[in-house]
Every structure is written in C-alpha cells, then in structure tokens.
C-alpha cells in the first residue's frame, strides 16, 4: 500500500513504515529508549530526506514514549520530581543544541559529524553495558550474589551542593547533577534526532545511581517533553515535520511499545541490559561500516541554496 508523504514529497510503502515503527516501538517499551537512534538511520536508508527523517522521528518518539511511560506510571515507576529536573535541563539543552547544530551545518560536514557522534556514543555506551551485563549474568549463573554496586553514585555527584530528596529514585543528591545530565542529552536530542534514552538510561544508573525500577519510566517521562519541544523547534524552524510519516510510524510504534513493556516485565534487568547493549553495538557497527566502506555513489547531491 503506497502513500504519498506531503512534506517528504515522496511515495512510500505504508505497511513497511508501520512495521518499522512497530519494531522500534517494541525496543522503546522494552528498554525505555525512544528508539530515535534506530528510526532516523532507517528512514534515511529508506530514502526519506534526512531533515524530514530527524524531525518526524522526534514526533514519533513523543507518541511511543507516552504509551510506554503510562504503562510504567501505573506501576508507580516514574519519579516525577527527578523527571521534572531532567526535563528542565533538557529544554535548556535543546536550545543550546539548536545553536551547535547551525554551527556544524555551516562547517558543511553535518551528516558525517552526526554519524561519527553516533558511532562514538553508541560504541562506548554499548560496550559499557555489555561488560556489566555479562559480568552480572556470569555471576548469576555461578550462583553467587550479584557483584555489589560500587557506590551509590559518582563522587563528583555527591560533592554538588543543595542536596534534595528524590524518594522515587531512592536518592539524596543535588538537583544540579540531573539538570546537567538533562541539558547534555537535550543537546544531543536536537543534533542527532533522538530521544536520548540510550544515553539517559545508563547515565541514570551509572552516574546518578538511581533505583533501577524508576529508571526506565522516568527516562520515558523526560523523553516525552524533550522530543515534543524538538518537534516544535523543527516544525517552526525548518518546517520538516511530516505528520503523515509520523502518524504511520506511531501506528506501529505505540502498539510495539505496549508489547515491549510487557516483554520487559518477564525478563531480568541483566538480560534487558545485555539485549540493549547488543542492539546499540549492532547499530554502531552498521554505521561504522557505512562510514568506511567505499560508497556506491561517488557523488552526493545537495538541493537548494
């Protein structure tokens, strides 16, 4: 079934886009990631113009995150206070990201820079998660108690002033740490067209030391707001949000997200982390191959001024 997209100005196979959204949505619900790091490259690979792919996937992430966040909300696994601080940081970061984005654009290598940033982040985070997940699984198989968590959170986090309580996360830390984290991820959200969950989730665990149960729900909660702001930025600045494309992705995405949440309840957190690590590393590998392999087309076209 073919549908013509009004903003992307091309005809696409609607069923394929829905399935793509469904697969990404499943991962979204399962791991608490927005899935933008998969959606955006997949759409570009399909032939959607990059600007439209980035903007429309942000819209889709908003929807699938709501679906996932509500599911976690019902289990009381969303820390509203922590989420609020992260959102505040994220909005500041999104604004900064817009500035960084236009600087990179002026340098002329925006797509290469984006791919390199992707490879760098995905391989570092994927590698860390893989190491931890494997160690935990090995320990569990040997019948030992899981290795003790080193410290509740990193020393510099504990050193920050104005500490407050985050009961949902089981933390007593300065709000500056999540604020900075939110801002850093917000910058990446705008530049990379992602929700940032794949960075946020491990950062919440490893940097802030949050209670595991609250991590995924709170991450989804903050993704809703930051991607909604990103959609607004793209809609007003570059006018590249394709609502038809976003709705097609959502159709599959929201369904996939619900299934993903259910699947996540049946799996151990260590297995979840192992799964996410493998997905993240696989995407990094594919992108790296794309950067280093001799391209089929020796020329790239850039329309307009």
């Amino acid at each position: 079934m073919d549908i013509y997209l009004p903003i992307a100005e091309m005809s696409v196979n609607a069923l394929l886009i829905i399935l793509m959204g469904g697969a990404v949505g499943f991962l979204s619900g399962m791991f608490g990631v927005g899935g933008g790091f998969l959606t955006t490259p997949l759409l570009i690979f399909y032939g959607i113009p990059p600007a439209v792919a980035v903007a429309s996937s942000a819209t889709q992430i908003t929807g699938s995150s709501v679906s996932g966040a509500l599911a976690y909300w019902e289990r009381g696994q969303v820390d509203l206070r922590m989420g609020g601080v992260l959102v505040a940081g994220g909005l500041v970061g999104a604004g900064l990201g817009q500035i960084v984005f236009s600087v990179l654009q002026d340098l002329g290598q925006i797509d290469v820079v984006i791919s390199l940033i992707y490879v760098l982040f995905l391989s570092v985070i994927g590698g860390l998660m893989l190491r931890d997940a494997l160690a935990a699984l090995k320990a569990a198989r040997a019948g030992e108690a899981p290795p003790a968590r080193r410290s509740r959170h990193l020393p510099w986090v504990a050193a920050l002033p104005w500490k407050m309580r985050f009961p949902g996360s089981g933390l007593y830390i300065s709000p500056l740490a999540p604020l900075l984290l939110g801002a850093a991820v917000g910058i990446l959200t705008v530049i990379m067209g992602i929700g940032g969950g794949f960075i946020m989730v491990p950062a919440m665990v490893y940097i802030l030391g949050m209670r595991a149960q609250a991590v995924v729900g709170t991450s989804l909660f903050q993704i809703i707001f930051v991607t909604a702001a990103t959609t607004m930025l793209h809609a007003t600045a570059s006018k590249s949000v394709d609502i038809v494309l976003a709705l097609l992705l959502l159709l599959g995405g929201v369904t996939g997200a619900q299934l993903g949440v259910r699947a996540a309840q049946k799996l151990s957190p260590d297995r979840l982390r192992l799964g996410l690590a493998i997905v993240v590393l696989a995407v990094a590998g594919v992108l790296l191959i794309g950067l280093t392999l001799t391209p089929a087309e020796p020329f790239a076209l850039f329309e307009g001024a």
């Binding site: 073919d2 549908i3 013509y4 009004p6 903003i7 100005e9 091309m10 005809s11 819209t59 889709q60 908003t62 929807g63 699938s64 995150s65 709501v66 679906s67 996932g68 509500l70 599911a71 019902e74 002329g108 290598q109 797509d111 290469v112 390199l116 809703i224 909604a228 959609t231 607004m232 793209h234 809609a235 007003t236 006018k239 949000v241 609502i243 038809v244 976003a246 709705l247 959502l250 159709l251 929201v254 369904t255 997200a257 619900q258 259910r262 950067l291 280093t292 392999l293 001799t294 391209p295 087309e297 020796p298 020329f299 790239a300 076209l301 850039f302 329309e303 307009g304 001024a305």
Partner: protein, 252 residues
C-alpha cells in the same frame, strides 16, 4: 482519442499555410498529487502541418523535451580521510531542472549535430547546468556526470530514442513517464521538428504539477501555520500514545 481527432480536424482546417508548423496538445494541463500518487504519465500529442498540406514520403524527426522547475544543486564528491568517507570538494550548479525527459523518433545523435542539439538543449548531455564560475572545466565535467547519473538513477532524467511515434507522417505522440518523486512546480513540454539536421519548427505547452486535497492542505498548514502545525503533530502523537495505552491496559 477525441482530442486526437480534434487535433486532426484542426490540422485539416489550417492546412495550406506556408511554413511547416506544429500543433500540440497535452493530455492534462494539471497533474495533481494526492495521497495515492504513485507517479503519472503525460501524453504529448499533436499534428505536423505541412505547407500546402503535402505530406512528404519520409516523415521528419520529432523531439519532445519535458522539463520541470530548475533549482541550484551542489554536488560533492566523497573522499576518504583517515578511513572515513566525507563529502569533500563540491561544485555548485546554478540551474538544474528537477525533472528532464527527452523522447524522440531516433537516437538524438542521429537526428542533428551536436551544435544544434546543444542550442535547443535536446538530450541530457546538452543541458546547460551552469556550473559556478571558478571551477575548472574538466573538474566540473566530472561533477556534472555524477549529478546526471544520480538524477537518472532516480528516474528524474530520462532519454528515450523510441519515445515518439509518428502516424502517417502527420500525427505524433509521446508518453512521458513522471515518477512518484517528481518535484512540484511549473513544467513545459517543448516539441521540436527536425529535418536533415535542422530544427524547422518548435512549439511548447506548459503544465503544472501540484499537490491537491489533503496533501496540499497539510503542506500549506506546515508552511503558513507552522506553530499550529507543530502543536497538532505533538497532540496527535500524545493522543495516539495514550490511546494505545488505554486499549492494551484491559488485557493486563
């Protein structure tokens, strides 16, 4: 069919005027892009009007050129730097048609010499793409080849040497395929009559490709009410997410 008959009638009525002339009609003056648009086809047809109505034994050659709106395009060559492929040097072409199709009765090189086809821009190789000044001729040639190859691959630049049919030396017809990726805008169909390497008559007919209905409405909203459009997109996403959560909740 009725249109062809009409064109034929017109030809009969006008026969007898001195120079050789072309009468042209398009199957549509406007092509609308709607939700189910998967590409379209434009039928360019008409009649050749000979002096005194004498049809020669060997019919002349006809070349039909359809071109879409032009825009600047920057072509960048990919180069490997430290193992990574980056977009290196670029050449900017000032006027590149978004769509360009040639249909002719014979291969273009057999119809007329290079100079003639270049003057009338008949044939993809004869397009005047206006590379930015300062670029070396040989270099801009290489980039032009890359640009043309990319457009041909997308089906936006086509050349068919058997694309025009001539019936009884008088009626001509060409079917021009418009792929789903055609850009919107103002198009022209130029028809050239060539005999013994010389262009004896030319005519052109304009047509428009534009979005219609829902597609147009969405596009206009996104351009003119971008804030409302963005809000609507966010709301739609939130509603879809909430709805899915509600529907599936019952099953737990």
């Amino acid at each position: 069919m009725a249109r062809i008959a009409l064109a034929l009638g017109l030809w009969l009525a006008l026969a007898g005027a001195a120079p050789i002339r072309l009468i042209t009609q398009l199957s549509q003056a406007r092509i609308e892009i709607n939700t189910t648009f998967r590409g379209s086809e434009m039928l360019v047809f008409g009649a050749i009007q000979y002096p005194q109505g004498t049809v020669p034994d060997a019919p002349p050659d006809i070349a039909v050129v359809v071109r879409g709106p032009s825009a600047p395009v920057t072509v960048r060559q990919k180069a490997r730097i430290a193992g990574i492929w980056v977009n290196a040097t670029g050449v900017r072409f000032e006027s590149v048609p978004g769509f360009y199709a040639v249909a002719a009765t014979r291969p273009i090189t057999q119809i007329a010499d290079e100079r003639t086809t270049a003057i009338y821009e008949i044939g993809i190789r004869n397009l005047q793409l206006s590379p930015a000044s300062g670029a070396d001729d040989g270099i801009s040639r290489t980039f032009e080849t890359g640009l043309i190859a990319a457009r041909q691959k997308a089906g936006l630049f086509t050349e068919r040497s058997d694309g025009v049919q001539i019936t009884r030396g008088v009626l001509y017809a060409a079917r021009i395929a418009l792929p789903a990726a055609v850009p919107v805008g103002d198009y022209t169909a130029e028809i050239h009559l060539v005999r013994k390497g010389r262009v004896l008559a030319s005519t052109s007919a304009p047509f428009v490709i534009d979005k219609s209905g829902f597609e147009r409405w969405v596009y206009v909203m996104a351009q003119e009410n971008s804030l409302a459009y963005g809000l609507a997109a966010v709301m739609a996403a939130l509603a879809a997410g909430a709805l899915a959560a509600l529907v599936t909740r019952r099953r737990w």
